[in-house]
Structure formats: structure tokens, C-alpha cells
Amino acid sequence: MASHGVARPATIVPRTEQERIEEEREIKQYRELEDLIRSKIAERQYTVEVLELTSKLLKKNPEYYTIWNVRRRLLIYGLFSKPLDSSSHSTESQNISQTDIPTTSSAKPFSSSSISSEASSTTPQNPASQSHGKNGTTLDIIKADLDFLFPLMMKYPKCYWLWNYRLWLLQEGNQRLGAEFAQELWSRELILVGKMLVKDSRNFHGWGYRRTVVSQLESPKLNGKSMVEAEFEYTTKMIHGDKGLSNFSAWHRRSKLIPRLLDERHANDATRRKFLDDEFDLIISAMYTDSYPYAQSAWFYYQFLMTTLTDYIGHATITPNFTTLDRSEYVIRQLAILKDMLDGAEDCKWIYSALIEYTLALCQMEEREPDIDEKQDCKAWLAELRKLDPLRSGRWADLDNSLRK
């Protein structure tokens, strides 16, 4: 794999003869294991023993996607208790061509048209699988496999194939188990992903996985109901956690939940206005007290709130029934708050940049040109920006040009 953040000592010591021999032995073992799995699969031995061989290999190399696929086939053709009726993996797949891949649902795996070499021809049920013919077994197998994955995921939290395989397992559970059992599995996942996000609160695999788990738990097929309140609470908790203000992932998630949250609360105009006020208070007081107004994550969330006022057409909104006058008033109030914030934070480029952006946005909302004072202010703020933030001088030059027009 591409190495990220792996430091290397200043001098490279060549391997000793003993180390070389040891590495050679490891290579030999690894390749023999690989060959063994391939030959077992070629013989269509879809057994627990072969499953264990893949576990052994995948622990050494969780990135080996072909072996994850082998594992899927082992389960589908050998170990799960019975083939599916609706999208039978083992009987219908044989003559389906590539272009018949069902793409009707993004959530549904494409497994019914597995056309890779192992799966494309007849796949007789292995005798070993007969002993797994009871209904409970599929659940046990899925649970055992999820348990197998967990330590690997803690060790390799950025490995796409692990997350991907895990989702596939759960989707199989949806298709093969009763809603009650599937629901139980997905509920466990919410706890798991919570742990993953404690370990790394910015892992985007984790946040994406959380969205999927929640949408599954909310889905009618699992007799689910909305979790938007609980999820919103979760983002609040994350934001108030360690380095929470810098957790843009949590702020982002919050921005996506709010419109739905308010709809589901059947919030009236007054409640919505109050909600917006509270969110502004949250972010502004966080900027003042939590650390300082230099964390860019907080400023992007601030941008989100402002966008609901200044650029609401086609975007998420919190207060859809605001009049233009309401919107202007809010922006004017925020401009005053930003100016206050400068006191003691004169070296914070974010404040200057926000002041310019929303002064210009206000003019646009009121369908007028900036007046002389506004122009003067913007020029003064821009001069500060150029001093404080020379890395982006090209951007400030463009802004300067647009102010001169």
C-alpha cells in the first residue's frame, strides 16, 4: 500500500542475513497460503476450513480484495443455509451476462450476477454446507464474520475493502434473515461505528458508514423509524467533545440533518427562527470561548448558516418563510457581531474574509451596489487579508478587482 505517515530512520540499515532468510520464509508461507486457497476454490471446496484459510490470509493482508470476493463466494455457495429465492446466487447466476447486472438499487449488492471465474459455472452445494441447513446458522455465520472483521477494522480503519465487505455481509443479512434479526445486526453496527469514531473522529469511512447504518435502521423493511433527533444529538455531543470545534465532519453532518429535523418537528416559523438564533449562538460562542476564532471548521459551519440566508435558493434552508427584510436584518446583525469579534482578534483572517463576503452578499440581496462606506470597509478589510494571508494573494487580487468594478 501507499505509505502514509510512515517515518523512516535517517540511515537505512541493510537486512542482516538472518532477517533476509526470515523474510524469505514469510514470503514462502504467504504465497503457499494464497496458492492453497486458489486451488481449493478451483475445486469448489466451499467449506469452513477454506473460510479459515482466507481469514488467515486476510489478517496478513486485508487489502487483498480478490480474497474478500472468494470469501463472499464461500458464504453464498457453501455456508449460508439456503440459496435465495428472489435473486438466487447459485442457480440463476450461471447464464447471466455482464450487462444484466441489476442496478436497480444502490443498496443492493450485485451479487446475483457474479460472473467471475469461480462463480460463473455450476456451483454444487458442498456436502459440508448441508450441516448448516438450519435457519439460525446464517445468522451465526454473519455474526461470526462481523466479529472477525472488527479487530481488523480497528487496526486498518482506512481500508476500503473492510468497510465494503462488512456492508455486503449486512445486506446479505437483510435478504436472508427476518427483519427482526437484520435489525438486531444493524443496531450493533451503530455501536461499532460509534467506537470507530471515538478512535478517529474524522474518519470519513466511519461517517459514511454511520449514514448507511442509520438509513438502514430507519428503513420500513426493518420496521424502523426516524432517528434524526438522536443523530442530531450525536453531532452536538461530537462538537462538544475533544477538539470538537475542529471536527468539520460533525459540523457537516449537522448541516445535513437540520432541514429534516425541523420538518419532522413540524416546526413553525417562530420555532425555526429560534432554532437559527440558537445555532448562531452556538457557533459564535464556540468561537469565543472554546478556543479562538481561528479554527476553519467552525467558519465553514458559519458559512452554512449564512448561506441559508444569503444563498437559499436551491440550498438547504432553516427559515423558508423569511422575507427579504428578515434575511437582511439577520445578515446586518451578523455583520455587527463579526465587527465586535475583531476586537482582540485583529489577526484573524476569517473575520475579515467573512465581513467582506457578507457585506457583498447583503448588497446583492438588496439588489444594490455597495455604498461608499461599505466599499471603504471592504477595501480596509481586504488590505488586512493581504497582510495576514499571503498564501492566497491571488484570491485577494481577484477580490480586489471585483471590488473596483
Binding site: A2, S3, A10, I27, Q98, S117, F304, L391, G394
Partner: protein, 329 residues
């Protein structure tokens, strides 16, 4: 091509600002000779992708002949699976990403003719096809006909990375009409966030890697007009940190590969001048190992071919002297 990292270590000297072309060429050439290292075998699942990164870096370094053309083509063709797609190595399952790497390599070394002659003959909907058409149909079969996005393989993982890679591969094959491009564009638009960026799917956090894939897909579809360029340009420009490098998301560490994902994105929306190109160039050069060759994610870390490709591509985008000009898409 192996992804074995090291043995080199990225630049120790802060003022070392020469591009060590010869060292990088040798480093890339050496990668396939490291079969006595365990990591060579542990990275086999990325062999074809690795070869693409190596070949690309060599082309940008103006040394396209540094790897033998015939062997390169032979290796690519040996990775083709029965379903027409390419796996990462012979005997590995086909996947969209390795398939597109295969196409990209063949396009670079002028290998389409060999694909026509020696590629697998595969039947789709009862009709047999060969050469480019086979690969194109493998890719088009991975498009989700309802939403427009793409899956990585038959198991169904979807991601805007795959959408871009799919369109890119089909475009290079001249077979873009096999898929529904408009639907793919609608999907990307549905991934846009309030900050102007894009994530892996609708609702996902903006991420520079996904922004690159979405902008590149929109460029191929000639629909870059759907982008909020100023807003996205602001967000992207804030990826540059004091050290000159670029990060992938707010308040994350900088990394050489984002020199490509971010800078090419900025190029596609005409905002590359919104960051400090000189400081970025210096950062990239500090990430190279001037003796052993190769680039690392950050100064002092282990080098690998992935970061070597994107480091060189970043320099090329910044019009570093002596490099071939790279296409941002």
C-alpha cells in the same frame, strides 16, 4: 510495478530544491525487482494501478521509454479477466479501478492495437465482442442505471471515484456513448455540498479526492458549468497550509497526493492562482528522496510510487521546468 515503500526516505535537506529526475526514474525502474521483499507480495492487489502510477510519472519526467513497452503491454493484457475487465494482477478479480489503470497504460504506450489483437473475446447479451468494445462494455455494465453512479465491481460498492474512473476509461476508449452521461452528471450535482465541494455520495462530507473525481467527471461530460466555482475555489484554496502543502479536508495534515487532487481541481475551475504555487512546489520537492528517488506523503516519510506519481504530476501542473505538461482531467 510494486508498491513496496522505501528504502528511500524523503528529502532531509530543506534547501534541496532540484528535481532528482534520474533518481526517480531509477526508483520506478527498480520497483519490479523487489520480489525478495514481503511487501512486494502484500501489494500485489495494486500491481496494475502501481504500474499506471509509474508509467505516468515516467511520461511526465520525459522518460517514456524507461520501462519496456512490450513487457508493459504483455503484463496489462495478462491481467484481463474472463468478464472483460482487468484485475490488479493475473488471476485477481476484475475491478473498475484496475480496469481503468489498464486502459490508461495502454493509451499511454499506444497499446490499443494489441488489445484488439490479443484481448479477451467476451459475450454481452448473447453477442460476442473483442478488444476495446469488451472493456467498454464491462465498464458500462457497472453503471447504476437508476442513479447514474458506478459500482467498483459486481459486489456493488458505489463511490464517486468509480463514477469518474468509469467515465474516464470509457472516454479514453472512445466509447462514452455506452453509458448515460447525463444521469451521471445529475448524480454528481446531487453530491454537491453548501461549501461547493463534493463527497463520495449524496450527503457525504466534501473531500478533495472526491472533488477531483467529480470535477474531472464533469469536465469529461463538458458540464463544469454546474460548479459553484468561487465557493469551491475558496474551500480548495484553504487546503494550503503554512508549510506550503495541501490537505484533503479542513484541519487535516498536508500530503503530497493532494498536490494533485486539489491543484488539478483548482485548474479545472480556473482558480489555481488562488494558492501559492511556489510554496507548493517547494513542499513537493522537500518530499522527494533525492538520492534513492521517489516521493513521500510528507518530508521525512517513506517514499512510494503512488506519491511519486502525484508529486511529479503536481509539479507538472505547476509548470515545473523540464516536465511534460499534464492534463488536469
Amino acid at each position: 510495478m510494486a508498491l513496496v515503500s522505501g528504502p528511500g526516505r524523503a528529502g532531509a535537506l530543506p534547501d534541496e530544491l532540484q528535481l532528482a529526475v534520474e533518481a526517480h526514474v531509477k526508483y520506478i525502474q527498480s520497483l519490479d525487482t523487489r520480489r525478495d521483499e514481503l511487501e512486494y507480495w502484500l501489494t500485489e492487489h495494486l500491481r496494475l494501478n502501481g504500474l499506471y502510477w509509474g508509467v505516468t510519472a515516467l511520461h511526465l519526467l520525459n522518460r517514456p521509454d524507461a520501462l519496456p513497452r512490450t513487457e508493459t503491454i504483455d503484463f496489462v493484457l495478462s491481467c484481463q479477466a474472463e468478464n472483460g475487465g482487468f484485475g490488479a494482477a493475473p488471476g485477481h478479480d476484475a475491478h473498475l479501478l484496475s480496469t481503468v489503470s489498464g486502459i490508461q497504460i495502454l493509451a499511454m504506450v499506444d497499446g490499443y492495437e494489441e488489445l484488439e489483437k490479443r484481448g479477451k473475446v467476451v459475450a454481452f447479451e448473447g453477442k460476442e465482442y473483442k478488444g476495446k468494445e469488451v472493456v467498454g462494455r464491462y465498464l458500462s455494465g457497472l453503471q447504476n442505471k437508476e442513479t447514474g453512479t458506478f459500482a467498483g465491481d459486481e459486489w456493488g460498492e458505489e463511490d464517486t471515484r468509480f463514477l469518474y474512473a468509469g467515465l474516464n476509461g470509457l472516454n479514453l476508449l472512445g466509447l462514452l456513448d455506452l453509458v448515460n452521461v447525463d444521469l451521471a452528471v445529475d448524480y454528481i450535482v446531487s453530491c454537491a455540498n453548501f461549501d461547493g465541494g463534493y463527497g463520495v455520495s449524496p450527503g457525504a462530507e466534501s473531500h478533495s479526492g472526491q472533488i477531483f473525481t467529480c470535477l474531472a467527471a464533469l469536465s469529461i461530460a463538458k458540464r463544469i458549468d454546474t460548479v459553484d466555482k468561487d465557493k469551491l475555489g475558496q474551500w480548495l484554496s484553504e487546503r494550503q497550509v503554512e508549510q506550503g502543502g495541501l490537505n484533503g479536508r479542513p484541519e487535516k495534515l498536508e500530503d503530497v497526493c493532494y498536490s494533485w487532487w486539489v491543484a488539478s481541481s483548482m485548474t479545472m475551475i480556473g482558480r489555481l492562482h488562488w494558492i501559492d504555487g511556489k510554496k507548493l512546489t517547494e513542499f513537493i520537492l522537500r518530499c522527494q528522496d533525492p538520492v534513492g528517488g521517489g516521493f513521500a506523503d510528507r518530508p521525512g516519510d517513506m517514499v512510494d510510487v503512488f506519491h511519486t506519481c502525484f508529486g511529479v504530476a503536481g509539479l507538472s501542473l505547476l509548470e515545473f521546468e523540464g516536465l511534460e505538461e499534464v492534463d488536469a482531467v
